[in-house]
Amino acid sequence: MEKGHRLSRATRTRSARGRIIGAKVGIISVVPYAVLLAIYGVILFLQPKLFSLDWLGLKTNDAMALILVSIGQTVVMIQGGIDLSVGGIVCVTNSIAALYMPGSLTGILLMSLSVLILGTAIGLLNGVVIARTRLQPFIITLASWSIWGGVALSILPIDGGEPPKDFINGLLARPMGISLSLFAILALILVWLYVKKTRFGVSVYAVGSSEKAANLNGIGVGRTKLQVYALSGFLAASAGLFRTAQVASGSPLAGNSFIMTSIVAAVIGGTSLSGGKGGIVGTIAGAFILKLIADMLVFLGVSTYWSTLCQGSLLIFAVVMSSVAEMAKRKGFEL
């Protein structure tokens, strides 16, 4: 008979390779960070001068908007959904902020707050519709994306807008050479590690793993969905706000590229599209990977015409590796 702490052979089906590939050192999932380091290594090899805090700070600011959207997307994916409306939210918040942000400090704060509230409200609306109508998130957020993207186009038909300097400098600041964004990222990670263990966090995983079982256990499935999409909306709005500072202007189409890249960042980071598994720590690595790949190609001297192909291929490669890792972990048929 089996003793308490010894697991039966049936539960220990992982192969050695799988254990390494799927391993976690503390909270860091190994594979995405290993890949990230590898890419950085290649970049350093090609341009040794970039081994500087300055460049890293620049990169962090570069990736910040994507990271924010990807975090929201990750949480939605863990819950078993998907949020395509982030594209529209980023577009609309970016456009509004770039056009209308006043120069005074109170003005900046009020506008930022309003924009964040707008994004959260949009997300909440998405969540309400998804929770009440039982329609698939893909379609609802697709429609939402279309609507809010259209609103963005109405507000700001072509790129433009001039956000105030104070705002830009504030968000992109780099006290002691380390960008504010990096602190923000670390703060987000800490918050996540805490939230993961709260009832909300566990509910997100539970609903993503089995909505039916979660309901039977008294978990407010509808409420969890509301919260998750509202969060995604909030983060997308903050990304739009950040982008306003980052690019110092507004673009009504800017958000569209974030949709797929946020999903890919999450998947590279180990979050599963089917729900119940994943986390934002890996996603952050995924977002950096996507940003650094573009740079790496430039440094490799790849002509612009071929760079798209390289980016796509690298993407596929990363995803294949991730899938192979999953498969190695799950040897044998899962019942």
Binding site: I139, W145, G150, T308, G312
Partner: protein
Amino acid sequence: MKKLKAFFERNQPVLTGYATSLLLLVIVSLVKPGYASANHLRIIAIDCAILGIVSIGQTLVILTGGLDLSIPWVFTSAGYFLSMLSRGNSENLAFAIPIVLLISAGMGLFNGAGVAYLGISPVIMTLGANTVFQGALLGITGGKPQARLPDFMQVLSKGSVSGIPNLLVIWLTLSVAIMVVLTKTAFGRKIYAVGSSETVSFFSGIDVKRTRLAVYAISGLAAGSAGVLFAGRLGQLYLGMGDQYQLTTIAAVAIGGASLIGGKGNYAGTIAGTLTIVVLSGLLSAFNLTTSVQQIIYGFVLFGAVFLAREKGLER
């Protein structure tokens, strides 16, 4: 009477789709008389045909629980490859067309291999493939303009047979074929089985991986065929020509009542969805609405159509 009621219940999403598109058409004709003229209807029919042919593949893929986001660049690549291989010469089409179709199917196989044999999520795989195909095409063409498409292609795509556009005929033939495959062949049965439950299908001796592979290959083939026909109709190529099909194919299938999880839906529904989308776009253009307002309305209508077509939820 009871049988009629049951028929309506079973096919509710599809019928709603047809009703919606009809309603939209009526609205437009009332506001803009002459809209529903024979000429204009012909144009609508052709747009439907192209979207409909591409959506054949998307329908099958979605039925198995997957998604094909690589359609835009399979579509565009096909047009470009045809131009490059035939070099404006109609005789070259004899080998150019089969080769292009083969390449398109091959692109689909690439997707299918990743999804079926490596277990990669379809969204990611096809998205990545889309970028790969785009990159490959950009690299090969170097952004240079291409030769005109051979005359035969243009005649085929723009011509009609006793008043009915060739493209419409092609589409209708393919539609019938697909519907037959889905309802009356083993392959069709397997598609629904795999989309409903991979485990049960596997236990029943169905080769799940091969079914998935086939379905993505067909999607590539469909996208490529549509791309070739579209290019023929346009007479020339431009790099963004496939972009509009990224989401419209999915929307068409979804409006038609298919479930994005797989196992539920049929091509008749996709036809309804196709009609709805094309009529809607036309309606919006007819009112001279700016793209931004069009987009907003498109979002609402998409939501509305899917909402109306939804299945009454399970009872508590």
